[in-house]
């Protein structure tokens, strides 16, 4: 265990205890370990009903008829609603393109699409009533891949598209297309001494957050509704919910209930509108909780992808060019597909210097499950492909794979294929050096305990499939690049309200934002920022709700940067007001009030030289100082639709991994022995939370490498494994030690120099594991996840 622990090169932040840079503990920690923390599925209201959704049993069909009579007649049932019962003309929703029906209208486009909703006095009554609804389908051919989507006679998944991408896509079954073109690939190809091509396949991953989609809608006397729900972005939900209900936004009051993980899967709406519709229809509170089976249908997944890559390099190991085509399956509805295309294309070359690039990325409309946001989206799929290519190139050139990457590594000042010059640290070579320098786990660990092999340390574990015979070790490396924040010209702001007053004889700061705390520890960091900026010990974090301005989404590794930035900014404005108050009250007593740089530290106003001027308690007296303010990072711009050129991303984030695996080559069983990570975080506001993000992200990358995949039947487009029995996520036995080396190179554009942390480790983890398995087996392995049959030649 020795290598795991707090990184040594993290500096401590403020002089007020509990400020930034310290590993302060979660404010919700005690509630979470005692079982008192109220998650969205724990909501309860007297007299509440339970909602149930009836979902389509087929992937693509016309709805001939729906008969709700028997369901409505079931004792205990209060309401059954279909498309025809929707209260307004706004009957679709969507993050960017409003193409998703609240309830199916005339047609279903994927397996598990909501068709009808039921409210009853017991969840089992609601389930049984929903099962009594008779839906007659006339099945249509399914579109499941690029060939069927773009065939000349292909049925259009969406007729009469009017969204802003339709003008530049080559086919109406393509959601969005983004080329990135720079230099002259044909000419550069002539300089290449070796050319390496690969066709890569990336499976469909599920976020598999543990807290199921759930919430409670309570009808209010004013005709509005109060909604308690787990989400990633309250105001985005609100914008989509209110028009469907026919209510002004101020009559849909949303409060964040406890969120049991998210990872992108809560960016889109799930049960929000359905619960509100049933509550308004019945006049009673309505709770909806998905079970795990339904959860697999209730949120979007990570886009599966097919990626074709061609790289060239010179004999001395320099990349000449890249030509790539990335096809992402967006499924039946658009969700975040356009942004995923933007990331996959703009980051498709990876963290390398390549002058001549021709990348095309598209997302398809198909009848497969809708895909959208998941940790690292777009960049994850591309990283799997370009890192496999790096290893192939190094092998062809007879070079060490890390040395080959070092030679081509980008750095601060490199122009990416989008033309954007990276203007903050990009320590790609240094991260590789660090992760390679970490001590290796001992060989044959299973023998370390004694004479007999401890099978728990071997591939296959307690299945007792090997005692070491046929087991081969492999080591692999990978590095990746991820954007931080919303890109391509999006107005990516956040809002914070900060109040300072004396409570119980002590100065207290109150922070109110709409940021969704999904487990990442944003609320911990907000309290730290308030302590650092305002010199208080006590910070109260108000629950997130829509009574304060939007915080933007808890995604894209952005919340510490953007809502953290908003909290810092609001604190600075509060501090100015507090100092103004101090100058009015006490300015005449000491010249430093007018001349010195003043700080708030440990409950006092002090000069930058450390001289105490006043207690905050005396400065504030009976007054409360409050500021609510929006905050923005520097703007980005859209990528040119033909060339992909543009200052598209706010910030970049880098991580590198080294994977050590042991493979039972006879049975195709893999044990990941260690998965070491080095990552630059700019500034670790909370080192303990940073490690948690890196280790958690790394493990989700491990999952897609060796086990996680939603299997969709290519003939029917139906999901075959919607359960934790058949869709496997890493257990504590599957997960190795994850030593982490944290680098802190400040980004001068970001608050405190910080860099978004959450996603980068999910990128390079997967290709590092694949590289290690390739090293152990000598197999090419062009798809992920790798299953035993791929290693034994029995696939």
């Amino acid at each position: 265990m020795g290598t795991t622990g707090l990184p040594t090169n993290i500096t401590q932040g403020s002089r007020t205890k509990g400020g930034i840079g310290e590993s302060t503990l979660r404010p919700d920690g005690t509630l979470k370990v005692t079982g008192e923390f109220a998650y969205s599925s724990d909501m309860w209201h007297e007299d509440m009903l339970w909602g149930q959704i009836l979902r389509s049993t087929v992937a693509h069909a016309e709805i001939v008829s729906i008969d709700t009579g028997e369901a409505l007649a079931t004792p205990g049932v209060y309401a059954v609603m279909t498309y025809d019962d929707l209260p307004t003309d706004v009957r679709n929703y969507g993050l960017e393109i409003q193409d998703t029906p609240v309830l199916a209208h005339g047609k279903v486009r994927h397996h598990g699409e909501p068709v009808a909703i039921v409210a009853a006095d017991h969840p089992e009554t609601a389930r049984r009533a929903a099962a009594k609804i008779k839906v007659e389908y006339r099945e249509l051919p399914v579109i499941t891949d690029e060939a069927s989507a773009t065939a000349p006679d292909a049925i259009l998944v969406h007729d009469n598209r009017t969204d802003h991408h339709i003008g530049h896509v080559p086919h109406p079954n393509i959601v969005h297309r983004q080329p990135i073109i720079r230099g002259d690939v044909a000419k550069a190809r002539e300089r290449a001494d070796v050319i390496v091509e690969g066709e890569y396949v990336f499976g469909m991953q599920d976020q598999a957050f543990l807290g199921p989609e759930s919430g409670l809608a309570v009808p209010a006397e004013d005709g509005g509704v109060d909604l308690y729900v787990a989400t990633q972005w309250l105001h985005s939900d609100l914008r989509q919910i209110a028009p469907v209900l026919g209510l002004p936004e101020d009559k849909v009051r949303m409060t964040l209930a406890g969120v049991g993980g998210a990872f992108g899967g809560r960016e889109d709406l799930s049960m929000q509108i359905h619960a509100c519709l049933l509550a308004l229809r019945t006049g009673k509170p309505v709770k909806i909780v998905y079970n795990r089976f339904e959860s697999f249908f209730g949120h979007v997944h990570r886009h599966p992808a097919k990626l074709h890559y061609e790289h060239g390099a010179t004999k001395d190991g320099r990349l000449t060019h890249l030509k790539a085509r990335i096809v992402l399956d967006g499924g039946a509805y658009a969700s975040a597909s356009p942004a995923v295309v933007g990331n996959a294309s703009s980051l498709g070359a990876g963290p390398y210097v390549i002058e001549d690039v021709d990348i095309e990325a598209v997302a398809l409309y198909t009848n497969n499950p809708p895909c959208g946001a998941m940790r690292g989206f777009g960049a994850v799929q591309a990283c799997f492909a370009y890192e496999a290519q790096m290893d192939k190139l190094a092998a062809r050139l007879g070079m060490d794979p890390v040395e080959f990457r070092r030679i081509n590594a980008m750095s601060q000042g490199t122009a990416l294929p989008t033309g954007q010059v990276v203007d903050s640290p990009a320590p790609v070579a240094e991260l590789l050096r660090r992760v390679k320098a970490m001590p290796m786990p001992p060989e044959q660990q299973w023998l370390a305990a004694g004479e007999a092999a401890d099978v728990r340390e071997l591939p296959g574990g307690l299945s007792n499939t090997t005692h070491g015979e046929g087991v081969v070790r492999g080591v692999g490396y990978a590095v990746g690049i991820k954007n931080v924040g919303f890109s391509e010209g999006f107005d990516d702001y956040s809002t914070a309200r900060v109040r300072m007053e004396v409570v119980g004889g002590e100065p207290v700061a109150t922070v109110h934002t709409a940021m969704a705390e999904v487990g990442q520890g944003g609320i911990t960091v907000h309290a730290q920022i308030a302590r650092t900026e305002l010199g208080v010990t006590q910070v109260t974090i108000n629950p997130a709700d829509t009574r304060v301005g939007s915080a933007g989404s808890t995604s894209a590794s952005r919340q510490t940067y953007v809502t953290g930035g908003a909290v810092k900014n609001a604190c600075e404005l509060v501090r100015e007001k507090v100092l103004e108050l101090g100058r009015r009250k006490f300015g005449t007593y000491h010249p430093a009030w007018a001349t010195a740089e003043l700080l708030l530290e440990s409950g006092k106003v002090v000069t930058d030289a450390g001289e105490v001027l006043a207690d905050l308690v005396d400065v504030l007296g009976d007054e409360a100082v409050e500021v609510e303010e929006e905050w923005r990072h520097r703007p980005t711009e859209p990528f040119d639709l033909r060339t992909g050129q543009g200052f598209g991303h706010v910030q970049y984030s880098f991580a590198a991994h080294r994977a050590v695996v042991e493979v039972d080559t006879e049975l195709g069983l893999v044990k990941v022995v260690e998965l070491a990570c080095a990552q630059d975080v700019g500034k670790a506001l909370n080192p303990l939370s940073v490690l948690g993000q890196i280790q958690g992200g790394t493990t989700q990358g491990l999952g897609i490498a060796v086990m996680e995949e939603i299997i969709v039947d290519p003939k029917t487009a139906k999901v075959r494994n919607p359960s934790f029995t058949d869709y496997l996520i890493p257990t504590i036995l599957d997960t190795p030690t994850i030593p982490v080396d944290v680098l802190e190179l400040a980004d001068e554009h970001a608050p405190y120099g910080l860099r978004g942390v959450g996603e980068a480790p999910t990128l390079s983890s997967t290709p590092a594991v694949l590289a290690a398995i390739r090293a152990a087996t000598g197999l090419e392995l062009n798809r992920t996840p790798v299953r035993p049959e791929h290693l034994t030649g029995t696939a």
Binding site: M1, T4, S23, L25, P27, D28, G29, T30, L31, K32, V33, T34, G35, E36, A38, Y39, S41, D42, W44, H122, E124, Q207, A208, F209, L210, G211, P212, G258, G260, G261, A262, N291, R292, D454, R456, E457, L462, V518, G519, Q520, G521, T540, L691, G692, Q695, G696, T698, T699, Q700, S723, F724, T725, I729, P730, T731, I732, L733, T735, T737, I738
Partner: protein
């Protein structure tokens, strides 16, 4: 039907229980004890782990009628349960620690940070079992949805096995899924609780 059983040392009675209801449903929806979590309801994730007559089980796989007359401990009762175990001399081997085991130096230090009396908003000042405190201190809690089940499972493992190796910990907790942490901080927390427990002996 009516189900009568003991939860966290208190007699409980649930009326009008439908025969298909699970112990998990009765705890969460009828007895106001939502601490046991509903992540999969198919016995795969361990987030609903409770102790039934001392044995860790997935409450989602236990029919409510099966608990008639039996004793259940949930995460809500874990602190009391650990305290009583310590006061009554712990397990048969005598290696389960004492009340002082929960007050070793590092734990003490951790508690000072939160020593402000019980706060209904944050729960600060609540008396915790050693494993609960260790989960907070080690950063083993992120979203926290897996936490109650892991705590019950880890506490039971430490009761049986006060000085576990890493392989022992992984084996004992392999029925509890966590999606946030990558398990490293959970390993740290269990090691920390075991170390504090043995320091106190």
């Amino acid at each position: 039907m009516r189900v009568t059983f003991t939860v966290n040392g208190r007699p409980q009675e649930a009326d009008d229980v439908w025969e298909g209801e699970s112990l998990l449903y009765v705890l969460r929806e009828r007895l106001g004890l939502p601490g046991s979590k509903n992540a999969c309801e198919q016995g795969e994730c361990g987030s609903c782990t409770v102790r039934l007559d001392g044995v860790p089980v997935c409450a989602c796989l236990v029919a409510a009628g099966q608990v008639e007359g039996r004793e259940v401990v949930t995460v809500e009762g874990l602190a009391d349960y650990a305290k009583q175990r310590a006061e009554h001399g712990g397990c048969a081997s005598g290696a389960c620690g004492t009340a002082d085991a929960a007050a070793g130096t590092p734990l003490d230090e951790a508690r000072r940070r939160a020593a402000r009396g019980t706060d209904s908003h944050t729960g600060e000042g609540t008396e915790l079992s050693p494993i609960q405190q260790a989960f907070i201190d080690a950063g083993a809690v992120q979203c926290g949805f897996c936490t109650p089940g892991l705590l019950v499972a880890a506490d039971e493992m430490l009761e049986r096995h006060p000085n576990p190796t890493d392989a022992d910990i992984r084996e004992a907790l392999s029925g509890n899924l966590c999606r946030c942490t990558g398990y490293e901080k959970i390993m740290d927390a269990v090691r920390l609780a075991a170390a504090r427990q043995s320091e106190g002996v």
